[in-house]
Structure formats: C-alpha cells, structure tokens
C-alpha cells in the first residue's frame, strides 16, 4: 500500500509521471489536475455521475473521480490529449467541432474519451447503443442531438455508414 508522502508512478498519455506528495485518499482526478497539472480532465460532480473526468485506465473507460490514485500505481492513464493526433480520435474531435457538438465545452474532453472508447469497441454502434454507452456523460448544453450527429458523421467519414450523398441517392435508405 502506498502511504501519504511516498511516491508512485502513473503513465499519463504515454509519459511516466512521478506522483509525489499526494494524500493517500486522493482520487486519480485530483492527482491528475492538482498534482500533475492535467486540467483537460474536468472536475464536476466527484461522484462518478457526470463523466466529465472520464479517462481510459489501462484501456478501460473509467470516471477518474472514483479511482484511488495510489491504487492506480503503474497504470496507463489516457486523457483526451493522449488519444492521438490521427485516426479515430482525430475524427471524433473534428466532427464534434463540425457538427456543433461543443457548446460550453466543459463536458467535451470526457465525451471525446467516451466516444473514442465506444467507437473503438463498437465501430458500427447504432443510436440505442450510442445512447447507452454515453449515459455516463452529462451535457447540459447540446441536448445530446449534436453529439449523436457528430458520432454519425465519424461513422460516415470512416465508411461505416453511407455518406449523406449516398443516402440521398438512395432515398429508401439503401
């Protein structure tokens, strides 16, 4: 067990980061933001309800406010900044902007992590599955419609859904 005052290491977005001086009871969220300065991970409810602090912890989507930082010693933590500049994560970010899925932007980092996680696991997720997978992320601005549209746009760009032109050419939906 890691006690207060001892140090431990996290791999944040691919880089080893030593955590020194954190309290034993600190959550991964507070260590990321307050100790390591990774402020793209947002702090809202601190109860695992809103998803603003979503990260990938050893590859699995987690609310970092419900993870004890010391228990994550040695874990790989991926935030929105570490998802990658190319490929799926780039497409998700681009379509969030293009489709108006970003309004105040506070929930966006968590949503981008959750959406990237979903489309990695289930590239062809339908509306029902998308809504279920994102139920842990709350957005107070968009009403979710634009976020859903952004995800559909990512799927079109990646050839999983037919493009809008193809859909129009086949009004029956193909």
């Amino acid at each position: 067990m890691t006690a207060a005052g001892e140090s431990y290491q996290l791999y944040v977005d691919g880089f080893p980061r030593a955590v020194v001086g954190a309290e034993l009871g600190d959550s991964l969220l507070s260590v990321l933001r307050d100790t390591l300065g990774v402020t793209s991970v947002k702090d809202a409810c601190e109860q695992g309800r809103c998803g603003a602090c979503s990260v990938l912890l050893d590859g699995r989507l987690a609310a970092s406010c419900t993870v004890l930082a010391a228990d994550a010693d040695g874990a790989r933590v991926v935030t929105v900044a570490g998802l990658g500049a190319v490929g799926l994560a780039r497409a998700v970010r681009a379509m969030f902007l293009a489709e108006g899925a970003v309004q105040c932007g506070f929930c966006t980092p968590g949503f981008v992590v959750a959406v990237t996680d979903l489309l990695t696991r289930r590239p062809d997720a339908d509306d029902e599955e998308i809504r279920e997978a994102l139920a842990g992320n709350i957005c107070r601005c968009t009403g979710y419609g634009r976020i859903l549209a952004a995800i559909r746009a990512v799927q079109r760009e990646r050839g999983i859904l037919p493009s809008l032109e193809e859909s129009r050419a086949r009004p029956d939906g193909g």
């Binding site: 695992g48 419900t66 996680d117 509306d127 599955e129 994102l134 139920a135």
Partner: protein
C-alpha cells in the same frame, strides 16, 4: 495485514472498484487511516461454474458479468447498473461490502438465494445473503465470493428511478422462476433498509403457475402485485424519502414492478400491450447486446433518455 491493522485500532477501509469509497473519502463521509486496495488480488477476480452452482469472485466487475451466458439474469441485472464507467470499475464485492440499500445487484442476489463467502483470520465461511446483510462483514474480514444456483428458468429484474447512469433505482424488483423445482422467488429493493423477499406472494404464484407450460393467468400476475403491495406496506423502516419518492409511491411501484416482472417471466404476451413507454423504468429482460425496437422499454437506450437529469 487487515487483522494487524484492525488490532492496532486503525480505521481501515477496503477498496475494491472505488465507485462508492473514493467519492466518500473525498467528501469526508468516510474517514480512513489506511486503505487496503484489493484490485490486484487476482484470486478475487475469477468466476467459475460447478455442476449446480456459479461462483463469482468479489473482484469481478459489473462489466465482466454483462455478457455472462451462464447467468442471464445476473448479466441483465449487472448491465443496468450505473454507466459504462461505473460498470467497468464497480465490483460484486463492493456492492456487498458497501451495502447500499438501493444497490440494484442486491435485489437480484436476494431473489436468487445467493450465498456470500467471507474470510477472516478465523477462516472462511458461507452465509446466506440475508444473514450476511443482517450481520455484516467482520471488522477484520472481507467478502471474497458470491455463490448462486444455476438458473432453472426465466429471471427478470426491473427497476424505477431517475437517470440510471447517475442514480441508483428508487425501487427495484427481481423475480426468479425455477421451472425444475417449481419455485418462484421475488425480492423488492428500495422499500426497507435491505431488499426483502415476498414470501406470501411467492407461495401464491407457485400455486397459480401452470408448470407444464410455464405460464400464469394475467389476473394472477395482478394479484401477485397486490400481495407484494400488502407485504411492502408492512416493512419498516422505510428509507429516507425525497419529494418524488414517498413511501406510498415506493409501495405502489413495488406492486407494479412485481406484477410486471412475474408476467414477463411467465406470460410475456399478455403484458406487451400494456407496458407504458416510460423512460425511467429500465427493463432488463432484453438479451444483452440486442436492441428490440418494437419494445421501447426493453432496449438499453432507455439509459440515455432517463428522466432525472
């Protein structure tokens, strides 16, 4: 280590997934001198199947259970706990260790006659879930596994509440039917401190079921709900209630859920037309991973449309 910490008088908190404990530590609701983290104890993270029973390690997460074909009922109950984030981290042992009265999994486990294995310096022991919940875990012990009978018939778990991903259910109900042994079990969560079995309603249902076809008349399912309401009305203490979840409401909801759950187990055709398309009720009798557009309450998408946000 746990025993030594206990003897030294230190306040030790056991950490599994952390979804309950970490926010509680942060808010000051829980205070601990030491935290013993169990996530890396791989022995707790296994699940297994015997000839008659299924054993689930305390460190198994809800996400691990979601697709478990050996226990579709447990898989469905686990599927509607919280959000992806919560299901990826929250564990079976955590659900038992923290014993939140509205914990959805406890309602299912109560109906399924689960047994709980605990370990302490004095050895290990199995206890029926009800006894475990009444006595709690020893100060120097921990929950290591849960054991269930292999399913012998349909199992349905339904609940009513606000946005599922953010809040536990207000009222939940699990019905477990054993067509081999001719048994019906029904548990209601969210009406008392702990989930309660509905013995009177269960006996009534056993007599009403046509066991050759595995069906029950519609009127009997309604009467089943009435009996549950009567039983629930006698349960105390009722949980602290908010404006939208009075004792009367919980009592009524318990009857509706029980009637609906029984009907889904034993007479599915009769209920489909009468199901209201409520967005807060989350039926869990859909096959995991398959959307059924014809039934708006059964699909997983209801999670994202919850009414409480």
């Amino acid at each position: 280590m746990l025993a030594a910490a206990h003897e030294s008088g230190a306040a030790v908190a056991l950490l599994s997934g952390g979804t309950d404990l970490v926010p509680a530590l942060r808010s000051g609701e829980r205070v601990a001198d030491a935290v013993v983290a169990l996530r890396r104890v791989l022995e707790l993270r296994v699940r297994g199947a015997g000839a008659d029973s299924l054993t689930i390690g305390a460190g198994v997460t809800y996400a691990d259970l979601v697709g478990w074909s050996l226990s579709p009922g447990l898989a469905r109950a686990a599927r509607v706990v919280g959000s992806v984030q919560i299901r990826n981290t929250g564990t079976v042992g955590g659900a038992l260790g923290s014993v939140r009265p509205a914990g959805d999994l406890l309602t299912y486990l109560t109906a399924a006659d689960a047994e709980v294995l605990t370990a302490s310096p004095r050895g290990t022991r199995w206890r029926p879930l009800g006894q475990f919940l009444a006595e709690g875990v020893e100060a120097d012990g921990l929950v290591t596994a849960v054991r269930l009978a292999r399913p012998g018939g349909p199992q349905v778990h339904v609940k009513i509440g606000g946005r599922q991903a953010a809040y536990p259910a207000i009222v939940s109900c699990a019905v477990v039917v054993d067509r081999v042994r001719h048994r019906v079990a029904c548990a209601i969560g969210g009406v008392g401190r702990l989930p309660a079995r509905m013995g009177g309603a269960e006996s009534f249902a056993v007599d009403e079921v046509d066991w050759t076809t595995g069906t029950i008349p519609v009127q009997a399912a309604r009467r089943f709900g009435d009996l549950v309401v009567e039983a629930v009305a006698g349960i105390s203490p009722v949980l602290p209630v908010g404006p939208g979840e009075s004792a009367d409401y919980r009592c009524h909801a318990a009857g509706v859920l029980a009637s609906r759950a029984l009907a889904r187990c034993l007479h599915p055709q009769a209920t489909r037309a009468t199901q209201p398309a409520t967005t807060t009720e989350l039926a869990t009798d859909a096959q995991p991973g398959t959307a059924r557009p014809s039934d708006p309450t059964a699909g997983p998408g209801a999670a994202g449309r919850g009414g409480g946000s």
